[in-house]
């Protein structure tokens, strides 16, 4: 009872903040004060996000609370000294009662960088994204793990890897060398290993392509290549191919119409065994046969065509396995309230046999209602 009261107070507070922000005249979009620094001066940026999300479970097949709440406070800070030094950090304060009332503090990113001519040095905890896939990414060897039912990480809970990296950039080419720890400060997650990774990225006649190498002490070396290419006014084609003991491949398209409609479709296949188990999942549970997946997403930003709906964004996606005929549908609507506040609702509905990949998700519908305040 006391817990419920606490969440009611939090929701009430967020709604008050939103209403207060909405009451401000909307003709004063925040504009940065001065233009960015010259070569020798400093530049500091700060932003803050406060999110509260309530989730409702229906048709639970295991003991789960019918309702739960998560509140997140995510301040970000970055500092740049001229063109040479920079520091960036984002931390996450979380209070949730998903299993039992709990609170924790996470460091999403905290890294320092130094630029010397064509070279850039970075050390700290940082999110790197090397893959070109949307819902799957076999060449994203250091990327945060993709969750196909939430590839956008809507609560921004993904954390970076503790790493040291060196980038060399010249013309349209860039070479990156990274050593990433399985966890110096953080606890070791299953499927996460100390990793040496190299990437060569080049843009050649509109083809943005990268060759990637990855070595860790547990699995065979990975060699991979990925690409993106744009055709016409709205079609992007992307793909990834990688090999360890077995191979994995992804091909996809992303089409965006000038009216704001967009569609993504992907096909992904990964070999049997633990090579392609995403970090964070137990490799011992790896499937014994090759898997085939599909992903499709359709979205419309700003329903300007409908009177009174221009503040609304909608999307729906489906991810499924050809191998076991299971699937999961996600639908979301977002409503921009003003420059600072967005409300959203999303629903996840899995389907398939109870022993299939998505059918094993132990509920019928998982509905989330959230409010996000950004400064």
């Amino acid at each position: 009872m006391a817990g419920n009261r606490r969440w009611l107070v939090l929701w009430f507070g967020l709604i008050c903040v939103s209403v207060s922000a909405a009451a401000q005249p909307d003709d004063n979009a925040p504009i940065p004060g001065e233009l960015p620094s010259t070569q020798t001066s400093d530049e500091t940026r700060f932003s803050l996000a406060l999110t509260n999300e309530t989730s409702l479970v229906s048709g639970a097949q295991v003991p789960l609370p019918a309702a739960s709440n998560i509140a997140l406070l995510q301040p970000s800070f970055s500092y740049k000294h001229g063109q040479r030094w920079r520091f960036s950090s984002t931390v996450i304060g979380e209070v949730s009662d998903n299993q039992q009332a709990d609170s924790r503090l996470m460091v999403r990113e905290a890294y320092a960088g130094l630029s010397t001519g064509d070279f850039d040095w970075t050390a700290g905890k940082r999110i790197l994204r090397w893959g070109t896939g949307y819902a799957f990414s076999p060449t994203g060897v250091l990327d945060p793990p993709r969750i196909p039912t939430d590839p956008t990480d809507h609560l921004s809970l993904n954390e970076g890897r503790e790493l040291a990296s060196l980038d060399w950039t010249r013309g349209s080419s860039a070479v990156t060398a990274v050593w990433a720890s399985a966890g110096l400060l953080d606890k070791h997650a299953p499927g996460l290993y100390d990793t040496l990774a190299l990437r060569y990225n080049v843009l050649y006649k509109g083809l943005d392509t990268a060759v990637i190498f990855d070595r860790d002490p547990v699995r065979p070396d990975l060699w991979g290549v990925n690409f993106t290419r744009v055709f016409g006014d709205g079609l992007e084609v992307h793909g990834e191919f990688a090999r360890r003991r077995t191979g994995a491949a992804l091909v996809g398209i992303n089409y965006t119409h000038s009216s704001g409609w967009g569609a993504i479709a992907e096909y992904y296949t990964a070999g049997a065994g633990p090579d392609w188990v995403p970090a964070g999942q137990d490799p011992a549970l790896a499937p014994a046969v090759r898997r085939h997946y599909y992903f499709a997403r359709i979205a419309k930003s700003r329903l300007r065509e409908l009177p009174g709906w221009k503040e609304w964004d909608v999307f729906a996606s489906v991810v499924g396995s050809f191998s076991d005929q299971s699937w999961a549908v996600v639908a979301e609507v977002d409503r921009r309230i003003n420059h600072h506040v967005t409300a959203y609702g999303r629903a996840l509905m899995p389907g398939g046999s109870p022993r299939s990949l998505f059918g094993a998700i132990p509920f019928d519908v998982f509905t989330s209602l959230g409010l996000k305040f950004q400064l």
Binding site: S137, D153, T169, A174, E236, H339
Partner: protein, 246 residues
């Protein structure tokens, strides 16, 4: 000798005929380069802009951007509004990417796709028309009492935002006055007016322009150029794998 005289006479007649047909046809390409200078006054610079969208005369929303530009091939746009923080857009030659903090990767996009309101990505990132279009001189005409050259611009590269632009520029200064924007089907989709100019570091540069949707006439986007400043920008700021790091 007779043949030479005949040839010279014929050439003179041709030249005279040409000058009668188009007595003072200005150099369209030179005019276009000159007019580009009002939006690209320095080889490398930063501009702070605000885009305000209006629906049926009422302000609907506003967005702020920092635009880093180097030459005609490299533009980096940093989104500044609270809901768009962390987003940035990179234009590199014919290619364009948008980096969204909530997606798993950088997304390849095209200049014609909507940035906000009636403004396309290319309306902010591809403002160097001489690099993207071939200009043909059409005629002279008055727009609201101002004497203008009318140029027809045809896209000459894949990365150009529009297929064709009809472009009015002042005869005395080559300042852009207005533009009609066409897509490949031949349909006019938007029109732009270049409303105000300002003096920055002794140069005249754009201060405000308005984009009107030709299909939804009651919808317009106003782009205010709040500040310009020449800056020495490093090349690697514009690399597709490094954008956003710097």
């Amino acid at each position: 000798m007779k043949r030479l005289l005949l040839a010279l006479t014929a050439l003179s007649a041709l030249a005279a005929a040409a000058s009668i047909t188009n007595p003072q046809a200005p150099d369209a390409a030179a005019l276009l380069r000159q007019s580009d200078g009002y939006r690209n006054a320095w080889p490398s610079f930063v501009a702070k802009i605000r885009i305000s969208n209006f629906e049926t005369g009422k302000e609907d929303e506003e967005h702020a951007y920092l635009v880093y530009s180097k030459g005609s091939e490299k533009v980096y746009v940093d989104f500044q509004s609270p809901q768009e923080k962390g987003r940035h857009l990179l234009m590199l030659g014919d290619d364009m990417w948008i980096y969204l903090p909530d997606t798993s990767r950088a997304v390849r996009i095209t200049p014609l796709q909507r940035l906000t309101g009636n403004a396309s990505n290319g309306d902010v990132a591809r403002t160097n028309y001489a690099a993207d279009y071939t200009a043909t001189y059409l005629r002279r005409e008055k727009v609201d009492g101002v004497d203008c050259h009318v140029l027809e611009l045809e896209a000459k590269r894949k990365g150009a935002t529009y297929h064709k632009i009809d472009y009015w520029i002042r005869t005395d200064t080559a300042r852009p006055v207005k533009a009609d924007l066409f897509v490949i089907s031949g349909k006019m989709i938007k029109s732009t007016t270049f409303d105000q100019y300002q003096e920055v570091d002794g140069r005249t540069v754009i201060k405000q322009m308005t984009i009107v949707d030709d299909l939804r006439k009651n919808s317009r986007s106003v782009i205010d150029y709040l500040q310009f400043a020449p800056r020495d920008l490093p090349d690697k700021m514009f690399h597709q794998s490094r954008a956003g790091d710097l």
